[in-house]
């Protein structure tokens, strides 16, 4: 599981915690790579610990906010480096993400984040894994209830998405 949000008190970080809870509740082992906590530097080669984690991983879960319609730059850089190996063990790609605008606004905006995974990351993976996505649209105008409901949904569903 790869998380990319700079702030520890953010909603995305809360979602990350719920992903962890959901995965362990459904009997999966998970390794967390927090790109900010480990101070991932796009100018350096991929950290050896990340490469090791990818060797044993059967699913890759990305937890990130959506900025300018796609993944944050730090995650794009990491994905570019990490997928160079073809990720032979990975049989599922999953994304948990938040989007400020509505579903319609994101449709007009082009949904680059979804396309980057479907059409650039996925073809690089040896197994052509399916991409499963839990997305929270309309974050900017959401109510506290909606935000809580999405976190519950993430925890409940994530275990069924990965392999």
């Amino acid at each position: 599981m790869v998380a990319a949000h700079p702030c520890a008190d953010s909603y995305v970080t809360a979602a990350r915690e719920r992903v962890m809870t959901g995965l362990s509740a459904s009997g999966h082992d998970s390794i967390l790579i927090d790109l900010y906590a480990t101070a991932y530097d796009p100018h350096l080669p991929l950290p050896i610990s990340d490469a090791d984690a990818l060797q044993t991983a059967t699913s890759l879960v990305l937890v990130h906010p959506t900025w300018w319609t796609s993944q944050p730059a730090i995650l794009l850089a990491w994905l570019d480096q990490a997928t160079a190996s073809g990720l032979p063990g990975v049989s599922v790609l999953a994304s948990v993400t938040t989007l400020g605008g509505s579903r319609f606004a994101n449709f007009l905006g082009g949904e680059s984040g979804l396309r980057v995974v479907n059409r650039a990351v996925r073809p690089r993976c040896v197994q052509r894994p399916p991409h499963r996505r839990l997305a929270f649209y309309g974050m900017d105008r959401s109510t506290a209830d909606e935000r809580a409901a999405f976190l519950d949904r993430v925890e409940r569903r994530i275990g069924t998405l990965v392999r």
Binding site: H5, P6, C7, Y36, P42, W68, I74, A120
Partner: protein, 194 residues
């Protein structure tokens, strides 16, 4: 016209040549050119916690490098991006520059109820110059997320009459020296006319 040229010549000497050709072309046709070279400046692509916390305040530009870039954006009439396509989109360097420089108050403003509003009406011309390792047909099939980001999402922040153009080199990985020099010539001749 005052043009800001944002270049990210990562891992690729050729992209630097393309950027030089673009700069020469613009200067020959009488434009003033400012250059932000993300590699030479070691522009940090990563939005830090400090950047993020300041993002929705009145003073979102806490990083001096992003503030310097934002000042160039505000004084520019044209914006040109030069990059090699990475994971079907712009390089992480360009994406990071957009995230950290085109912040509220520079590229758009956020109202209480209205959502984002365009804020870069000074930019009258937007140009992307990109190289692709894939064949043109594959780029069409897989979708061009870099072009979409610049010609749709960044373009939205420009004025109603902002025009945008695209200069692309497909199949760049397999290009011969002749094809490369032909492309450099095309950039140098073409970009000034835009």
């Amino acid at each position: 016209m005052r043009v800001l040229l944002v270049i990210d010549p990562v891992r690729d000497v050729f992209v630097r040549d393309v950027a030089i050709a673009a700069k020469n072309g613009l200067e020959t046709s009488g434009h003033d050119v400012d250059v932000v070279d993300l590699v030479a400046e070691r522009f940090p692509p990563v939005m830090s916690a400090a950047d993020r916390r300041a993002y929705f305040t009145d003073d979102p530009l806490v990083c001096p490098q992003a503030a310097a870039s934002a000042a160039l954006v505000r004084s520019a009439d044209g914006l040109v991006f030069v990059y090699p396509t990475t994971l079907s989109t712009v390089t992480p360097g360009i994406k990071g520059w957009i995230e950290r420089t085109l912040v509220p108050g520079v590229a758009f403003t956020i109202g209480d109820q209205t959502g984002a509003k365009r804020g870069m009406s000074n930019i009258r011309r937007l140009v992307g110059i990109a190289t692709y390792d894939d064949h043109h047909w594959d780029v069409l099939r897989h979708g061009d997320n870099g072009r979409r980001l610049i010609q749709r999402n960044v373009r939205f922040c420009g004025g109603l009459r902002t025009r945008s153009n695209w200069i692309a080199m497909y199949d760049a990985e397999r290009a011969t020296d002749d094809e490369r020099s032909a492309f450099l010539e095309r950039v140098e001749r073409g970009v000034g006319k835009l």
